[in-house]
């Protein structure tokens, strides 16, 4: 029984982003390509942020997950096209929200924020829109820190890039 490409994708669905353990590297859009050859597989991944320290862990986790296939594994990193939050699926956004991280707004909404406009980020706990940004940079480079003015809880917002 040979291994098919969809088997590889299925195994990759079980590899989670170490910083956001509710999303798989496939849902995150980090895995760009799977190329299956004779006894070997090449996985192409792309970083979310240049300095993201999770990339090495992700590569190691991918090797671990595919280890039992017996394939020789090559992991390639590409930069182009640059990763964007637009690649997060709707299901992925909902998982983020349920986990307590406000999902990224549509890119156009966030671009307005870059030009010093206001953006409306919903509190993932009480769904209030009365929230304010505490800091452009949160617990990781990909998140900003917000606070809800209704329930007073601080929360992470996944910023658009």
């Amino acid at each position: 029984m040979g291994i098919e490409e969809r088997d590889v994708w299925q195994l990759l669905e079980g590899v989670y982003d170490p910083e956001i353990p509710v999303l798989s590297v496939v849902e995150m859009g980090i895995v760009r390509r799977v190329e299956l050859g004779a006894g070997e597989v090449t996985i192409t991944i792309t970083p979310t942020y240049s300095g993201c320290p999770a990339m090495d862990t992700i590569a190691a986790d991918i090797r671990g997950a595919l280890g039992k296939t017996g394939l020789s594994i090559t992991i390639k990193t590409v930069l182009s096209p640059a990763w964007t939050t637009a690649w997060l699926s709707e299901a992925g956004r909902n998982k983020l929200n349920n986990y307590g991280i406000a999902p990224p707004l549509t890119p156009s909404g966030d671009k307005k924020a870059l030009l010093m406009g206001e953006r409306v980020v919903k509190c993932p706990r009480c769904a209030s829109t009365q929230t304010k940004m505490i800091s452009q940079f949160g617990s990781t480079a990909c998140k900003a820190l917000f606070q809800c003015e209704s329930c007073l809880e601080p929360f992470d917002y996944f910023k658009c890039i």
């Binding site: 970083p47 942020y49 300095g51 182009s80 640059a82 870059l114 010093m116 800091s135 940079f137 820190l145």
Partner: protein, 250 residues
């Protein structure tokens, strides 16, 4: 090997690495938790970008070169960063004003570099640009708060502007290597970058009543390897482990 491209990659990568190092010095020493985290996040972005440039440079150099050997095993005169990025974190106003001047240059620089005839360099620039937009938004916001804040915050920010503005000319004046890269369609036209820089800086300076009038922008030398005394101390810190335990990894 393509010496010009190699040196050009060092010039861009050194700016990111040395500024990233300056910001990393504030890890655990930021004025409050949020700014501490923000400054070190920016530092991390810059180090990530540095790695792309140096990995590419090492690939061009061949002969066993690696991103680490490019980063750690050069002498001070072989670093090509602008003098602005090696200036110290005198106080928070200095850190912010240095960052703002650099970001105001870095963003339009990367916008143009994203169209480089060198596809690899273009990909690095397009990736980095997304991050740098957030850097500029962070540093602008702080210049606005400090410059438009209390009498003391304004006075100290003005002092930082007076100290650091003279270093901004070097960002925008091309050296022969940059002119060569521009002619090959690889590097940006610094005149256009300068236009965007002036617009961003003049806009925010006038909004916050910070003065640049009468300040000359004469300081330069870094791109040619002639540095201020600060770089030697930075490199002593940065290179210590690699010099003491060659080839070490962890």
């Amino acid at each position: 090997m393509n010496d010009s491209l190699y040196n050009y990659l060092l010039m861009i990568g050194d700016n990111a690495m040395i500024l990233g190092h300056r910001l990393s010095e504030l890890c655990g020493h930021g004025p409050n938790l949020e700014t501490d985290i923000a400054l070190t996040n920016i530092s991390l972005d810059l180090f990530g970008q540095t790695r792309y440039y140096f990995q590419y440079a090492a690939e061009l150099a061949g002969d066993g070169a690696s991103e680490d050997s490019v980063a750690f095993l050069r002498y001070p005169h072989q670093y090509k960063n602008v003098l602005l990025v090696e200036q110290p974190n005198t106080d928070f106003a200095f850190t912010i004003v240095r960052q703002f001047f650099f970001d105001a240059f870095h963003k339009p620089f990367l916008e143009q570099l994203s169209d480089s005839a060198d596809k690899h360099l273009a990909a690095i620039a397009a990736k980095s640009l997304k991050e740098v937009q957030y850097h500029l938004s962070f540093s602008s916001e702080w210049v606005r708060r400090l410059g438009g804040g209390t009498e003391e915050s304004h006075r100290r920010t003005q002092r930082a502007v007076e100290e650091l503005y003279p270093y901004t000319g070097e960002l925008l004046r091309p050296v022969p290597l940059e002119t060569e890269m521009q002619q090959l369609g690889i590097g940006p036209d610094l005149e256009q970058v300068a236009g965007a820089f002036e617009e961003t800086v003049t806009g925010l300076m006038s909004e916050t009543a910070l003065q640049t009038e009468g300040l000359s922008r004469h300081q330069s030398g870094g791109k040619a390897g002639i540095h201020s005394e600060y770089l030697g101390f930075i490199l002593a810190d940065l290179q210590y482990m690699q010099r003491t335990y060659p080839g070490m990894e962890w």
